[in-house]
């Protein structure tokens, strides 16, 4: 059974003249108990999608079912069953950590003690600061508190809108560990992120761009779908090199990738030709190697294709 089912959702903002289509005919399914990632650049429509699914925003058309409940007709029931952590920290900054948690527990008619087992691992990390005001916490702490508050009523589905944006690498890693723990407890998690490396940590990912779903697949599936040979190239003078690569007929795409440039070649037969051309040109310190595509290469390709 699918936990979230989205069918043909369309949402646009603004009047006729400067109409912006945020979501353009979106459909996807999220299975129960999986971590489903929505990957997309800023402005792809991720937050609009989350607001529709958490019953805060009405779609122009289309249907969305969360945990078997319609987001329009049964929004009151949905609100009892989902946890939502918006992208921006939105807890009461002038209340302490414990007061925030208590408050959200009580308005869901429950208590911290009742669901302590669920949030224990996360809450233990912020417990030393429980009498500190939420506004005075560090970014990573705020994020943990927000997650605790979103979980305090033991939701069936958890919506996390860019939870790791603006958080350091170590905290990001910790955060994904926590999500795995929650998944083990049977909670379905829909998470959006602009970071492509996080896509690998999801069970399924949907790539969203300009309000359209470009692909839905498992991270491994996304990679195997990538059919082009890929090379990493490095030389003295990276910028002229990039220009040169982009101008080559045999090259489909070239873009900076870490300390190398990644070069997508049109087909397998042309690989040797590319190697030869590069070797014969007057590039100093030239390094070339074949590499396996990772998920970022796949997404860049998908985004440029559509």
């Amino acid at each position: 059974m699918s936990s979230i089912s989205v069918k043909n959702i369309i949402k646009s903002y603004g009047k006729k003249k400067d109409k912006v289509i945020a979501l353009n005919d979106i459909s996807f399914e999220v299975k129960e108990g999986e971590i489903f990632g929505i990957i997309g650049p800023d402005g792809a429509g991720k937050t609009s999608l989350f607001r529709i699914l958490t019953t805060l925003l009405l779609a122009d058309s289309g249907t969305a079912i969360v945990d078997g409940l319609d987001v329009i007709k049964e929004f009151e029931k949905i609100r009892k069953r989902v946890g939502y952590m918006p992208g921006r920290f939105s807890l009461y900054q002038d209340l302490t950590v414990k007061e925030n948690l208590d408050f959200f527990a009580t308005i869901f008619n429950t208590s911290i003690e009742e669901n302590y087992s669920l949030i224990k691992d996360i809450y233990l990390q912020i417990e030393p600061f429980k009498d500190r005001r939420a506004g005075k916490l560090s970014g990573g702490m705020k994020q943990k508190l927000a997650l605790s508050c979103a979980l305090i009523h033991r939701p069936v589905v958890l919506f996390l809108d860019e939870p790791t944006t603006g958080v350091d690498a170590v905290s990001r890693k910790e955060f994904w560990e926590m999500l795995k723990g929650l998944k083990a407890q049977g909670i379905t998690i829909l998470v959006s992120t602009p970071y492509m490396d996080e896509a690998m940590l999801c069970d399924n990912v949907a790539l969203l761009q300009k309000g359209k779903v470009l692909s839905i697949n498992t991270p491994a599936g996304v990679i195997t779908d990538f059919k082009y040979p890929l090379m990493a190239v490095k030389a003295k003078g990276m910028l002229p090199l990039l220009e040169q690569l982009k101008a080559m007929e045999t090259v489909k795409d070239a873009y900076p990738f870490g300390e190398y440039h990644h070069v997508v070649i049109k087909n397998e037969q042309l690989v040797q030709q590319v190697r030869d051309t590069l070797s014969n040109s007057s590039l100093s310190d030239l390094q070339m190697k074949r590499v396996e595509a990772d998920i970022e290469d796949c997404f860049i390709d998908l985004m440029k294709e559509k």
């Binding site: 805060l56 009405l58 609100r79 939502y84 918006p86 920290f89 939105s90 009461y92 007061e99 308005i107």
Partner: protein, 372 residues
């Protein structure tokens, strides 16, 4: 009910945790009520008078002495040239010019009548009007005295004269503080009601916490009530402080009962809190809310009958005041404090205020949606 309790608990925690709000709530009534009534005075004093005396007679000196002895006028310039006096008006040293012609005393004795010339600086309209009125009545008194001195026979004046004596009911000494202080108290309550509630809700919008509340099963009725009740209570506390200050500083004890005042204030606060709520549903930022409530307050104060009488406004303005809750409360306050009106006397006001509360709050609740 349980949810409401927790919402209230949270709201009070936040209010009491913000020291500047607490300070404001208690300082505002104290400062406004202690300072404003002394400055917002209808009586015009210290009018700077410039006298052009071309006569230099006994009578002209007597007249000048009588004018300056009242305390309303200060003799700023004493000269015998009108242009010089006008120059003083132009440079702001004088407000009024009284010109006494050279034959003043002579004509008064021989012809039984004489003329004086009065010129005033009308830039400050109220001052000019009241100043010339004061001066005219002083001159009339002077005129009467001169007549009594001269017309010995027949003993009774052949001309019929109507003399008016007036008595000021409900405020025998015409102490303006008695009607200013209750009025200022009303403005204070209105400001607390609209500003505090609207800004508080808009702040939740700005920080994004309203979003977090919206995804919870909290009913919008509970949420709104949780917002209104704390400020309703604060409003009543401010009213109590205000009434205490009016007694301690001005000796104002309402002739009517406190129950009447509190009953009306309780209803009134619901109306203005509803207005604050309504503002918050339209405003997206605290700035917008502030500006909007400031604009509304301005209209309310100027068209509320605190400084200017509603009866003397043009018809269209009178219509506007009917939609101004402040005007009703000011009227009720003055009725209860000065006249001793009871609940029955203000039942029309109560009914109208009930209407305001119902309309404003329902409008706000309809306009406040948990989803867009």
């Amino acid at each position: 009910m349980r949810t409401l309790k927790f919402l209230l608990q949270k709201e009070f925690r936040q209010i009491f945790r913000d020291p500047s709000i607490i300070r404001l709530i208690f300082m505002m009534p104290v400062i406004q009520l202690l300072i404003l009534p002394w400055a917002a005075d209808y009586e015009i004093k210290n009018i700077k008078l410039s006298v052009v005396d071309k006569d230099h007679s006994d009578y002209s000196r007597q007249l000048i002495a009588q004018v300056t002895s009242t305390g309303y006028f200060q003799l700023a310039v004493y000269t015998n040239s009108y242009p010089e006096a006008l120059e003083q008006v132009e440079s702001g040293n004088a407000d009024l010019i009284l010109e006494i012609p050279s034959s003043f005393e002579k004509e008064l004795i021989k012809e039984d009548e004489s003329t004086l010339f009065l010129a005033m600086n009308a830039i400050d309209g109220v001052k000019a009007n009241l100043g010339s009125a004061y001066l005219q009545s002083i001159i009339q008194d002077f005129n009467k005295e001169v007549r009594i001195e001269w017309i010995q026979f027949p003993r009774f004046s052949p001309e019929t004269q109507i003399e008016i004596t007036s008595s000021n009911w409900f405020n025998p000494l015409m102490n303006y503080k008695y009607f200013m202080v209750p009025g200022i108290l009303v403005i204070l309550l209105t400001m607390i009601g609209t500003n505090l509630s609207s800004i508080n809700i808009v702040r939740e919008k700005e920080i994004g916490t309203i979003e977090q509340i919206n995804v919870t099963p909290v009913k919008k009725f509970h949420f709104i009530l949780g917002k209104l009740l704390p400020f309703w209570l604060i409003g009543l506390v401010v009213l109590t402080i205000g009434l205490f200050i009016s007694w301690a500083a001005y000796g104002i004890v309402p002739v009517g009962s406190f129950i009447t005042i509190y009953a009306f204030a309780a209803l009134y606060l619901f109306a203005v809190l509803g207005l604050g709520l309504l503002i918050s549903t339209y405003a997206q930022t605290q700035q917008q809310a502030m500006l909007l409530s400031f604009f509304i307050m301005m209209v309310f104060i100027l068209l509320g009958g605190l400084y200017t009488s509603i009866d003397s406004m043009p018809d269209w303005a009178k219509w506007v005041t009917r939609f101004n809750p402040v005007s009703y409360f000011i009227e009720v306050m003055r009725m209860v404090v000065l006249k001793g009106s009871g609940l029955i006397d203000i039942k029309r006001h109560l009914l109208i205020m009930f209407g305001f509360a119902v309309v404003l709050n329902s409008w706000a609740i309809i306009n406040y949606r948990k989803r867009s």
